[in-house]
C-alpha cells in the first residue's frame, strides 16, 4: 500500500510538471501501458455520468474495455443532480463507490474541489484538447472531457433560412413574441450557463424582456428541440448536436449559428479523492480525450473536443464556430442568483 501510494504521488508530480514540455505532443504510450497494467490489477472502475445518454455511456464503457482489456467500467448514468445527490450520500456513508465523476454542472466540481474530495490529475491527453477547453481548473482537480454548443434553432417548415434568427436578441424582440422556446435554468445546467452568458451580454433586464416575450419554457434544453420540431413554437435557444441529429432523420429543424457566438458548454470529469482504483480512473481520464471518444462524439453529431478531429458531414468543426462562454466563477455565482430572478419573472 505504502509503495503504491508513493509511486502514485511521484506519478502525480510528474504528470503535473510534464505538460509544459509536452504541450501538443501525443500521449506517452509508455505512460498508458504502465497505467493499463496497474489498472488491470484493479479490474474495474465506476463512472457516475450525466454527460451522455445511457446508450452512449454504455457504448463508451464497452469501447474503453475493448481498448484496455481487463478493465471493466460500471456505468451509473443519471441526471447531474441525482448523480451529485448520490455521490454525497456515498461520501456521508463513507463508501467509495464512485471513481470518476462526470456531472454537467460545474458547481458540483467547484464544491467537491473545495471539500478536497477530488484527486488532482492532469491527463497527458489534455494537451490534445481544443484550446478553449484547456486548463479549466488551474489545479487540474477536474478536466474537460466533453462539450456542447447552444445556438438558435428553427423550424425549417415554418421559417425560411434567411429569416431565421441570427442573434440572441431575437429572444427579446417583440417581433418573435409567443413564437420561441427556451429551457428552464432551474432544471437544466446548460440553460443556467447559457443564461449567465445572456446576462453577461445584455444585462439582467434580459430576463424580464424574455418573460415579456412569452417563450414556451420547457423543462430541459432538450425540450426546446421537441417544441420546434412539433411546430408548437418556430424557433428556440437549444443544443446544436441534437438539432443536427434530428435534422439528419428528416425532422424539420436546423441550426442558425448566431452572430454573437454560440454558447459553449464545457463538460468536465474528475477522479474522486477516495477512489480505490486510482490507476483505472487515471487511465479513463487519459482515454476520455482520445480518438475513440472523439469518434463516439461525432456519431452523436457533436463537434469533438479533440483538436483537429473532423466531425461528421453536416456538422461544423469547432474551429470554424464562433463561441462565447462564461467563466467558471461567473457560472458558480450567476446560476443560483439568476435562476431566482428567472423564477420571479416566470412564476415557476
Amino acid at each position: 500500500m505504502g509503495i503504491s501510494r508513493r509511486h502514485f504521488n511521484a506519478a502525480l508530480g510528474a504528470s503535473i510538471a510534464l505538460p509544459a514540455f509536452f504541450a501538443r505532443a501525443a500521449t506517452d504510450e509508455a505512460h498508458l501501458k504502465t497505467l493499463h497494467a496497474a489498472a488491470q490489477k484493479e479490474g474495474e472502475l465506476t463512472w457516475y455520468v450525466a454527460h451522455t445518454t445511457s446508450e452512449v455511456a454504455e457504448r463508451m464503457s464497452q469501447r474503453f474495455t475493448q481498448r484496455y482489456p481487463g478493465v471493466r467500467v460500471n456505468v451509473v448514468r443519471t441526471t447531474a443532480q441525482v448523480a451529485y445527490q448520490r455521490l454525497n450520500q456515498d461520501m456521508k456513508a463513507g463508501v467509495a463507490n464512485c471513481d470518476v465523476f462526470a456531472s454537467t454542472d460545474l458547481g458540483h466540481f467547484v464544491d467537491l474541489k473545495q471539500r478536497k474530495a477530488l484527486m488532482p490529475y492532469r491527463p497527458q491527453s489534455a494537451a490534445l484538447l481544443d484550446k478553449r477547453f484547456q486548463d479549466i481548473d488551474p489545479d487540474a482537480a477536474y478536466n474537460v472531457t466533453g462539450s456542447n454548443l447552444i445556438s438558435m434553432l428553427y423550424n425549417t417548415a415554418r421559417v425560411p433560412a434567411e429569416k431565421a434568427p441570427r442573434s440572441w436578441k431575437a429572444l427579446t424582440d417583440p417581433a418573435w413574441k409567443g413564437q420561441l422556446s427556451v429551457g428552464h435554468p432551474g432544471f437544466s445546467g446548460f440553460v443556467g450557463t447559457w443564461l449567465v452568458q445572456m446576462v453577461e451580454l445584455y444585462g439582467e433586464d434580459f430576463i424580464e424582456a424574455l418573460a415579456a416575450n412569452q417563450p414556451q419554457v420547457g423543462r430541459s434544453i432538450i425540450d426546446t428541440v421537441t417544441t420546434v420540431i412539433s411546430g408548437e413554437r418556430v424557433a428556440s435557444a437549444g443544443p446544436v448536436s441534437l438539432a443536427l441529429m434530428q435534422k439528419s432523420r428528416g425532422n424539420p429543424i436546423d441550426v442558425s449559428y448566431v452572430d454573437e457566438g454560440c454558447v459553449l458548454m464545457v463538460l468536465p470529469s474528475a477522479i474522486m479523492a477516495n477512489t480505490q482504483r486510482p490507476n483505472a480512473a487515471k487511465l479513463w481520464m487519459e482515454w476520455a480525450v482520445s480518438e475513440d471518444t472523439a469518434r463516439i462524439s461525432t456519431e452523436e453529431f457533436n463537434s469533438p473536443v479533440l483538436a483537429g478531429f473532423p466531425p461528421r458531414e453536416g456538422v461544423r468543426p469547432l474551429a470554424e464556430i464562433k463561441t462565447i462562454q462564461p467563466t467558471v466563477k461567473q457560472i458558480i455565482e450567476g446560476v443560483p442568483e439568476l435562476t431566482e430572478v428567472w423564477r420571479d419573472a416566470f412564476g415557476v
Partner: protein
C-alpha cells in the same frame, strides 16, 4: 402449519395473531423508517439539534406557498374530473345493459396501464396550442385560433384525471359488483324510481370504495412528478413537486424539502379523518351468507346516452393518444406527421434487435412490479383485517401508516429510501431489492385501501360462524375470507402491479445501471428528445403489460374484470 403445531402454548396464542403482528411490524418498519426520517430531517439543524428554520425556508417565500395552493386546487380538480369520468362508466358496466360494456371495461384498463407521463406526451401532440392535432383540425374547419391549450391549469388537471380515473372506476365497479339486485328491487318495490334507487341505495352502498379511491386519486395527483414537469412548467404553473425538485438542485436542501413535504403528509391525516367522519355509523355490508342475485338493469334509451359518454371517455384516454403514439412509433421523423415516405419499422427493430437494454428493462419492470404487488396484497390484507376486525390495538395508527407513503412525493420518498437502505449496513443501492421495497412501501396504500373496502363489505357473521363451529381464526381467514375476497385480492394484485409498472418518481432515483425500469427508460428517452423510439418503447410496454395482465387474470381466476352478466 408450523405455527399451529407449536405445542401447548399455541393453544392460547392465536397463530394468526403472530402472523398479523409480524406483518404489521414489517409495515411499521417499511413506512415508519422513511417517514420518520423525513420528519427528523425537517427538524434537523445544520449543526445538529432541532430547529424550525427549515420550515421558515420552506414556507418563507410566497412562490413556494402558492405552489402548495396550486397543488391543492389541482388535486381537488383532478379528483372531481376522475369521479365524473369514472362513476357513470363503473355504474354502466356493472349494473346496466350498456352496450359493448366489455370493450369499455378493457378500455379503462388500457388507460390504466398507460404511464401518465406517456399519456401526457401524447396529449402534448394532441392539444399543444399551436401544433396539436386537435387544434390544427379545429383551425382547418372553423378557422381562427385553436381552442385547446394543454399547457394550462385545466390541461394539467384533465391529463392527470385521464390517467388516474381508472382507480376510481376499479374500486367503484368492484363495490357495485357485490351489491345484489335484491337491494335495488326492494327500493323499487317500495316505490322508488330508478334515479332515487341509484341515489338512495346504490351510490351510498359504494361510498366507502369511492371515498377510498378518491383519496388515492387526490394523493396521486398532488404527488405526481412527470406530468407537471412536462405540462405545468410551460404553463407557468408552480406545483409542489416541481418546487420540491428545486430544493434538490445544487446546493441540495433535503431538510427544506422534507419540511416542504409536511403539509402533504398533514393533508393525508385530514383526509383520513374526513373519510372516517363520512363513513361512520353506517353499515356497508353487501356480502353476507345469503347468495343474492345480480342482473343488469334495463335503462332503456339512456343506454345510448351512456354509450356515447363512455365512447367519449375512451376517445380522450385511449384512442386518440394511442393513435398519436402509434403514428410516432412508425415514423422516421415524428415531426413530419403521417406520410408514406415517413413510415418505418426501424424504431421497433432498434429496440428489439439492436438494444439489449430494452429487453432487460422489460424483464426488470415485470419482475419488480410482480414481487411488489404480491407483498403489497399480503400486507394490505393484514392491515385491512387487523383494523376492521380490531385484532390488534391502535387500528387508526395502523391505517394511517398504511396510507401515509402515498402522500409523500415519490422524489422525497426516494431520498428517504436511499438514505435508509442505500448505504451500509444494507447497501441495497443498485439491487432490485431496493426498488421492490420502495414499490411495496409506495403502493401499500392501494392494496390496503382495496382490501379494507373489501373486508368492510364482508359480514363478520361469516367468520363468526366458523369460530362458533370451532374453527380457528386461521381457518376463518383461509377458508372464508380469502376465498370470498379472492377476486378483490387478485384485483388488488393487478392494481398494484400495473401502478408499479407506471411508477416514475421513486424509480428514477433508485434504479442502477442493471435495474432500470420502463418508466425511467421512457423519461430518459424524452430527455434525449428521441420521441420515435420513445413511442415505440411506449407501445411495446403497453402491449407487454396488457398481455401479462390478461394472462394473469385468466390464469388465476376466470376473467377478473367481467364479473357477472
Amino acid at each position: 402449519m408450523a405455527l399451529a403445531s407449536q405445542g401447548p402454548g399455541a393453544r392460547r396464542l392465536d397463530p394468526t395473531l403472530v402472523v398479523f403482528s409480524l406483518l404489521i411490524l414489517v409495515l411499521v418498519f417499511l413506512v415508519a423508517n422513511p417517514v420518520l426520517r423525513l420528519v427528523y430531517e425537517s427538524l434537523r439543524g445544520d449543526e445538529g439539534g432541532l430547529t424550525l428554520s427549515n420550515y421558515a425556508s420552506a414556507f418563507g417565500r410566497s412562490r413556494y406557498v402558492t405552489a402548495l395552493w396550486n397543488t391543492l386546487y389541482l388535486g381537488i380538480t383532478a379528483t372531481a374530473f376522475s369521479l365524473i369520468l369514472a362513476l357513470p362508466l363503473a355504474w354502466g358496466v356493472s349494473r346496466t345493459n350498456l352496450p359493448a360494456k366489455g370493450w369499455f371495461h378493457l378500455g379503462v384498463l388500457a388507460a390504466f396501464i398507460t404511464p401518465p407521463f406517456l399519456g401526457a406526451i401524447a396529449w402534448v401532440l394532441l392539444a399543444g396550442p399551436n401544433a396539436g392535432w386537435l387544434n390544427r383540425g379545429w383551425v382547418a374547419i372553423f378557422g381562427g385560433d385553436g381552442p385547446f391549450n394543454i399547457f394550462s391549469f385545466w390541461g394539467v388537471a384533465v391529463v392527470v384525471a385521464l390517467y388516474a380515473f381508472p382507480l376510481v372506476y376499479i374500486f367503484a365497479k368492484s363495490a357495485l359488483d357485490l351489491i345484489s339486485t335484491e337491494l335495488e328491487d326492494a327500493a323499487s318495490i317500495h316505490g322508488a324510481g330508478k334515479l332515487a334507487t341509484l341515489r338512495r341505495v346504490t351510490l351510498p352502498l359504494i361510498l366507502p370504495a369511492v371515498c377510498g379511491a378518491a383519496i388515492l386519486v387526490f394523493l396521486e395527483a398532488i404527488a405526481l412528478y412527470g406530468t407537471p414537469v412536462l405540462l405545468a412548467i410551460p404553463a407557468g404553473l408552480n406545483l409542489a413537486t416541481t418546487q420540491m425538485a428545486a430544493f434538490f438542485e445544487y446546493p441540495v436542501r433535503v431538510d427544506v424539502a422534507a419540511a416542504y413535504a409536511m403539509p402533504m403528509l398533514a393533508t393525508t391525516v385530514v383526509l383520513l379523518a374526513v373519510q372516517k367522519l363520512l363513513l361512520s355509523r353506517k353499515g356497508y355490508v353487501s356480502v353476507s351468507g345469503k347468495g343474492g342475485e345480480r342482473r343488469p338493469q334495463d335503462i332503456g334509451g339512456w343506454k345510448w346516452v351512456l354509450f356515447a359518454y363512455a365512447f367519449f371517455v375512451m376517445l380522450l384516454t385511449v384512442i386518440m393518444p394511442l393513435v398519436m403514439l402509434l403514428g410516432a412509433s412508425f415514423s422516421r421523423a415524428w415531426g413530419r406527421g403521417i406520410a408514406a415516405d415517413n413510415f418505418t419499422l426501424a424504431n421497433f427493430r432498434h429496440i428489439f434487435l439492436e438494444q439489449a437494454t430494452v429487453r432487460d428493462t422489460i424483464v426488470n419492470t415485470l419482475m419488480y412490479s410482480a414481487a411488489a404487488a404480491a407483498i403489497c396484497v399480503v400486507i394490505g390484507l393484514a392491515v385491512a383485517y387487523v383494523t376492521q376486525r380490531r385484532v390488534l390495538p391502535f387500528p387508526g395508527v395502523i391505517q394511517f401508516l398504511a396510507l401515509a407513503p402515498f402522500a409523500v412525493p415519490g422524489i422525497v420518498l426516494a431520498v428517504a429510501f436511499y438514505a435508509a437502505y442505500g448505504g451500509p449496513p444494507l447497501s441495497l443501492y443498485g439491487t432490485g431489492l431496493i426498488i421492490v421495497i420502495a414499490f411495496v412501501t409506495r403502493f401499500l396504500p392501494i392494496s390496503a385501501t382495496a382490501a379494507t373496502a373489501a373486508v368492510k363489505s364482508l359480514n363478520p357473521e361469516l367468520e363468526e360462524a366458523v369460530r362458533i363451529l370451532g374453527g380457528s381464526r386461521r381457518m376463518a381467514i383461509t377458508r372464508v375470507v380469502v376465498p370470498l375476497l379472492r377476486k378483490t385480492l387478485l384485483g388488488a394484485f393487478i392494481l398494484v402491479f400495473v401502478i408499479a409498472t407506471r411508477e416514475l418518481s421513486t424509480a428514477v432515483f433508485l434504479t442502477g445501471p442493471n435495474t432500470r425500469v420502463m418508466s425511467v427508460l421512457i423519461l430518459d428517452l424524452s430527455e434525449q428528445g428521441s420521441y420515435e423510439v420513445l413511442a415505440a418503447v411506449g407501445i411495446v410496454m403497453l402491449a407487454v403489460t396488457t398481455i401479462v395482465v390478461a394472462v394473469g387474470a385468466k390464469f388465476v381466476g376466470r376473467d377478473f374484470m367481467l364479473r357477472r352478466h
